[in-house]
Symmetry: D3
Subunit: 131 residues, 6 copies
C-alpha cells in the first residue's frame, strides 16, 4: 500500500541502522515505526528528519506534552491520519487525558472556524494587535 | 476593505451592545476588535461565537496560554493573518515569550513537514498506534 | 507586485483580444479584471479557463447565485484574497444580501470546525451514511 | 479505531442523553451518529456543537439544502471523509440529485483551481471589487 | 463506497464512450480509471476535465515527468489519496525513480514547513523579491 | 509588522553571524532575507533550517530549478505570500521563463481541482494504481 518500500532493520544499511538504533535508544523502545522505515529509502533525509525531531521535540521553553498537543493540532487541521494516530499515542504516553484531548480538539475546531470567518469577511487587523 | 460593515458600539442595537459589554467586561478592556464588529451584522452569530470563545478558551484541563498557543498553531497552518496577529497578541498578554513563540513555530513547521511526508508516501499506520 | 505582467487590451494579441471580447460580452461589462490579464500570458490557459468558467457557472441544476456562494465558501476556506473579493462582488451583483452572506459564512465556519473534530478524533463513518 | 471512546446511549449520563434525545427528536430519527458519540466525552462541547448546528443549519436567509451544499463544498476542500459522507447523506435526504451534486463538485473543483492561480501569481485585487 | 455511481463502458452513452475511447487511445491503455467513471455522471464535466488534462499535461515548456512531479507535490500537500496513488503511478511509468520520489517529497515537506514559519511569524516580503 | 524582531547582521551573535556568512557565501550574495532574520531569534532553529535548505535544495536526482518549481507549487497551494515571492525570484534566477511559470501554475491549478473532485466524490483507488 505504501508508495515506497518500508526498510526493515534486517535489510538496512549500517548508516540506516545507526539512525534506527538512536531512535530506539532515545525513545526507550525496541521497534521502529513506519514513518522512519519509509524515510530510510533516502538515508540523508532519514538522518535530517530524525535530527530535527530530536531537536524540536526536546524539552525547552515548552514541555514535551505541550509540543505533542501542538503537533496534534496541526495534524488534525491538515487531516494527516498517520500523524494523528502516532502523535496522539505519543501524547497519551506523556500523560494526555481524555479531558485534555477533548479541550485540545475544541480549541482546534474553534480556531478553524474563526480563521475562516476572518478570511472570508476580510476585515482589517486592528492596529492594537500589531507589534 | 471589509466585505461587511463593521458595527461600531455607537451604532449597535441593544442586543449587540449587550454582547460587546460582556466581551469588554470579561476581558477587562474598553474596546472591541474588528472580528466582533464584523460578526455583529448577524447578532445570533455574534452571540453564539462569543459564547463559544468564552467556553472553549476558559481554563480547564488546559491552561489559557496553552490554548492560545494551539490557536496560533492552527492559524499559522491555515494562514489566517487576522488570527495570527490577534492570538499572538493575546498569548503575549498571557506570558508568551520570544523563546516560547519560536519553539511553538518550530513544532508547527515540523508537523506541517512530516504531515506531508506521511500523506505523500502513504505508508500504513502502525498497529501499535491504534487505540 | 504581480509575479507576471498583466496583459492590457491595447497590448494583447488578436487571440487574447477575442477572449477578452467574449468575457465582456458575456458579462455585459466594459472592462477585464486582473485574473484574466494575468492568465493572458498563456493564451491557451486563458481560453481554457474562460471556457471552464462559462460552462461551470452557467445556470443548470443550480442557479448562478448558489454557485457564487459555493465559490465564496471554497475561497474563504482556502484563504484566497483575490477570489473572496471578486466572487463576493459577483454574488452581490446577483442579489447576495448581508443576511445571506453572514449565514453563508456561519456555515463555512461551522463546517471548518466540525471537519477538524472528525479528522482529529478519527471515529469511523457510520454505515448508514454510505451509499 | 476512534481516538476516543464512542459513548452509546445506554452508557450515557443524563446530561448526554438529553442532548441525544434532542438530536433524535429534531431530526426525526431513532439513532445517533458517531460524531456526537465522540463529542459526548466532553458534555459541554457536545451541547455547544449541537446548539451551533441547530442554529446554523436552520432555515433562514438560506434554505437547508443550500446550507448542506455549502457544507459539502467545505468538506471536499478540506478532505474530511466523515463530513463528506454524512453531509452528502443529509443533502440527499433534502433532495440533492446527481445532477446537483455533480454541478456542486464542478464549482468546488474550479474554485480550488482558480484560488491557486490567484495565490500563485499574486496579481492585485481590482479596485472595483473592493466594497 | 463512492458517492456517485461509477459509469462502466458497457453502460455509457455514446457521448461518454467517445471520451473514454479518446482517453484510452491517448494513453495507449485498454481501461478507464475510476476518476473518469465518476465524472461521467456529468458528461459535460467529463469532457471539460479530459480536455483540460490533455492540454495541461502535454509536453510544452515543461516535460511530462516534471508535470507529474508537480501534481504529486500538490496532491501530497492537499492529502488527496486517490491523486497520490494515480499520479505516482503515472510518474513511475514516465521514469520516476525511488531517489527522485524521495527528493521530491523532501522538497514538499520542507516547503510546507517554511510556508508556516512565514505565515506564522509574518515578516514582510523583502523588496528585492518583488518584480 | 513582523511578530518577532528581525535580527540584523550588526546586532547578531557570533553564532548567528556564522550562519548568515554561510548563507551569503553559498548563494554568492551580500544580503540576508527576512526569513533568516526572523529565525535568528532562535539560533538552533536558524541553523537547523539552513542546514535543511542546503541539503534539500542541492542538485541530486532532481535539478535545482525543478526543486524551485516544486517549492512554488506547494507555496501557491498553501497560499504563502512570502514563499511565492522568494521562490519565484529564486526560480527566475535559475532560468524560469514566463512560459514555464504559466505551465507550472496550470498544473498546480488543475491538480487542486481534481484533488477536490476525488476527495468530494470519494470513489475508490483503482487496484492497478497500488504498488
Amino acid at each position: 500500500m505504501s508508495l515506497v518500500r518500508l526498510v526493515e532493520y534486517a535489510d538496512a544499511s549500517p548508516e540506516v541502522r545507526a539512525v534506527y538504533d538512536d531512535i530506539m535508544a532515545t525513545r526507550g523502545t525496541d521497534w521502529i515505526n513506519n514513518f522512519w522505515k519509509a524515510l530510510a529509502n533516502d538515508p540523508a533525509t532519514l538522518q535530517r528528519l530524525w535530527d530535527s525531531v530530536k531537536q524540536v521535540m526536546a524539552p525547552g521553553a515548552l514541555d514535551p506534552l505541550t509540543k505533542e498537543m501542538i503537533y496534534i493540532a496541526v495534524s488534525a487541521t491538515n487531516n494527516c491520519e498517520y500523524c494523528s494516530y502516532s502523535h496522539t499515542a505519543s501524547a497519551r504516553a506523556k500523560g494526555l487525558s481524555d479531558a485534555m484531548l477533548m479541550e485540545l480538539m475544541a480549541v482546534v475546531g474553534l480556531a478553524n472556524e474563526t480563521n475562516r470567518l476572518a478570511n472570508g469577511l476580510r476585515f482589517p487587523v486592528d492596529a492594537r494587535f500589531k507589534p
